[in-house]
Symmetry: C2
Subunit: 284 residues, 2 copies
């Protein structure tokens, strides 16, 4: 990821679809009104013709989702190995062609399946877990309360699809100063994988970065951030015990239950600088 | 399910664990405080020694979860086929023994995997989807606004684990008059499956009942309610387009975005009776 060896890019479709649908509902007064709801589409990932998995997705960034899925599952390690990524909604599939055409060998990696707590894809193949502790070491960074406060204010201006249609989760890649990528999906793990796909394609490192999720920090989401080599993970929501254990093992800074000026630091307190006195205001 | 053939029950452990852990965090003022967080444990389901899947769960009702998982996946159809259900947290497993010992044949059903948008287990094996439209026909029932209002007020008194630790979802089985079963889990699909396990074990029919979820009504959660033969599905959260399509195809009554006295009826408007004039109060 750090090598910046080239700007090689696979040939890719750009088959993102509109995320919401307008439908009619009846409300509590018996009146008909138009509302927006989130889309949800099946997308089967095939590598060299071999079926890997079917994800249910909003469908806005299907190519990046497929790339990030393969990357986060550690099924492929070099973007240069991929020749093309072609989404076809008629067949609800994304076909990935590798240069050596050996995608069939990936199937061997697909035995051993853990179904996780996450919203979204919720399946981690065993090779991922094996690879986790062998992943890039997470170098902790310093996070200031003032940076966290600015980031959260900025993040509150995203969540566009959620605001109009609900039923989606958002994830973001941030520096300590600003939001860099924000993705929403019906599965928050899809949102995380889409970010991983973008990072892989554009050779963006996770070092010195912050991963944000609108959802809970369960083991799977912590694992995905770790696989992207991101040392800081933040959320408005809560955490689980296994998410915490993983964050402790991997040395990640974990801050959650962020509401207005309030938050809990669950791990990495020694890397956090309290440079703000909380005021009694409420951020949105 | 309707037959009430007998009250046969498999031999079962009662290995539920405490759902939350007390830990120390540092807050926004730099002060250390004790908080509760939700547990998250891997639980591998084995049938006659053959591994089916690993779920991440809160662990409060592991036996019912395993039963409901097998039931909702349509991997086993008769509770009488099961001899015993034994949870062992040391090996993080639940071992199910069938009377005919043919659990190995289930593995054939496990090819073809759709990873869904849901929080929780998020994997539906293809045999489930094939079986869905062949399932018990959903007979719509009449739902009154006054019943919905009472149910939602009652449901607001549950969510105990969520209130103390967050990071869990709740699902409930209700009649039109009251909450009958309420289950929380780190994965809401686990909560749904645990309810299915309880229904299977106690021969509770889904007919005339209402399924409630704290989370979004995606295709998978609608499918699970349909597999339990429950004709009404309600949520405070939003819905997805595929969830709606399924509810329409199956003739389910779908009411979501329930907030105080407000709600949207997404499907089955003809079975809903507006017998309340909304008042400007806010239910919690």
């Amino acid at each position: 990821m750090e090598k910046q060896v080239s700007l090689y890019r696979p040939r890719m479709t750009a088959a993102g679809v509109r995320p919401t649908h307008a439908i009619s509902v009846k409300d509590e007064k018996g009146e008909v009104k138009e509302v927006e709801i989130a889309g949800e589409l099946p997308l089967t990932i095939l590598v060299d013709g071999h079926e890997i998995v079917t994800l249910m997705t909003l469908g806005t960034y299907p190519e990046l989702l497929a790339l990030g899925y393969l990357r986060n599952q550690r099924l492929l390690s070099e973007i240069e190995a991929i020749e093309s990524v072609r989404v076809d909604w008629q067949t609800e599939s994304v076909r990935i062609r590798t240069r050596d055409g050996k995608g069939g060998q990936l199937r061997e990696k697909l035995t051993g399946r853990t179904i996780t707590t996450g919203c979204g894809q919720g399946t981690i193949f065993s090779c991922t877990i094996d690879g986790l502790y062998a992943a890039e070491a997470l170098r902790p960074i310093t996070v200031r309360q003032s940076q966290l406060s600015r980031l959260m204010k900025s993040l509150a201006t995203y969540n566009e699809i959620y605001k109009s249609a609900g039923a989606v989760h958002g994830c973001a890649l941030c520096s300590t100063e600003k939001v860099e990528i924000f993705v929403e999906d019906v599965g928050r793990h899809n949102a995380a994988d889409t970010i991983a796909g973008k990072m892989w394609l554009d050779r963006i490192s996770g070092l010195n970065r912050v991963f944000y999720s609108t959802g809970r920090l369960t083991s799977e989401i912590v694992m995905k951030a770790a696989l992207m080599a991101i040392p800081v993970i933040i959320s408005r929501s809560g955490i689980t015990y296994m998410g915490l254990t993983l964050a402790q093992d991997l040395g990640m800074i974990m801050i959650a239950r962020i509401k207005g000026d309030k938050f809990h630091i669950y791990n990495g307190q020694e890397h956090f600088i309290h440079d703000l006195i909380p005021i009694n205001g409420n951020n949105p």
